[in-house]
Amino acid sequence: MRIEFILNGEAVAVEAPPDITLLDLLRDYLNLTGTKEGCAVGECGACAVIKDGRLVNSCMVLAPQAEGCEIVTIEGVHAADGGPNDLQQHFIEYGAVQCGICIPGMIMAGEALLRQNPHPTRAEIRLALAGNLCRCTGYQQIVDAIEATAKGRRAQP
């Protein structure tokens, strides 16, 4: 079936079977492999993307459910020059990245939080990451990086 939606700001139309997930659509039909498959049952958040402004696990969205939606994946998160944006830069600076498999989902969860709440407390940042597992960092550096980004974005005019 034909599925049309806005992907990282651009209209896309793709022929795909009706029984695959949005995750498979992104990775196998649109060649956007930044979104990762971790558990595939909604426990780990590695596949998180932003759908119509809200964080979702793309492994739990059926591909046809993306029809007409605005989807942002990790490939759509970057600075104007294509390099890392402030959140991604803070992840690097704070040592929030080790093996990296959770990071696309962590960045999407962080972006989804900061779009809705520019003043998150540390507790709110932790809640926003409740569905994202990281087995390397112990989360502190990830929380630090998101906190620093929130502070930096608030300081901008």
């Binding site: 009706p18 809200r54 696990n57 739990m60 969205v61 409740a130 994202n132």
Partner: protein
Amino acid sequence: MPLFDYARASTIDEAIALLNDPRWVSRPLAGGTDLLVQVRHTKPNFQRLVDVSRIPAMRSVAREEGEIRIGAAVTYTELVESPLLCEHAACLVEAARLVGGPAIANTGTLGGNVGNGAACADGVPPLVCLDALAHVANSEGMRAVPVADLLLGPHQTALQPGDLITHFTFPLLPAGTRSVFLKIGRRNAQAIARLNVAVAGRLSADGRIEFVRVVPGSALPRLRRFTEVEDMLLGERPSTALFEAAGAAASRVMVAATGRRWSTDYKAIALQALVSRALRRVFRMQESNGTHAH
């Protein structure tokens, strides 16, 4: 060959027509947070999913006369963000807040939570505590079923093929009634409930319990109000001793129904604590010394 086909409904009538099309075995799809996990592990027992997640009539929360109406495709996040529910259904809002992480809360729906029929569903004890009706449509028309009667046992519901839960309604609780929801999971966030409980209650002018509902979840094969516990509370004055006795009674009701199982040593103690804590919260008793704070 795809394992199943997909169709999107834009109205309830269209969904009912699609679900009852004799050429296909169809099943409703809302958030998909349970369904897409199931189809990954087991061969689907349907040929087509009918997407009901965009039907406007199933997506709103409204007050109608003396009752609240919640569309079955309302997500947990939308429940939490509803001022109406925050005012009139605190237990349901608290349950929605404790479902999954943000990504699951943004996707999963109340109707899906009930229709999936899991014994641990966090949305169900609050609905039963609020005395909610599930409104079910099929090709013959609509019927209203108490939520407690819809759930026959773990993953067994009274829903028939072709049925669609369109919305829930519940009467406003008596003025001044408070309700709470508490849950024990294996971790603080994104946890499946080991036990949960919804409690609503109100004191009379002279400080006696004149209204109370106690609905533990994940405790019995078939969820229901613990009227045995409610009866021992009605007419009494709140006290730590009373609520501990009520917790112990809830625990006895559970064990009498389920028998002793591998989890009973844990669940019996945990349910006792959970029920007495929920009662202290509803009747605003401080945790430490049991003094009654208004």
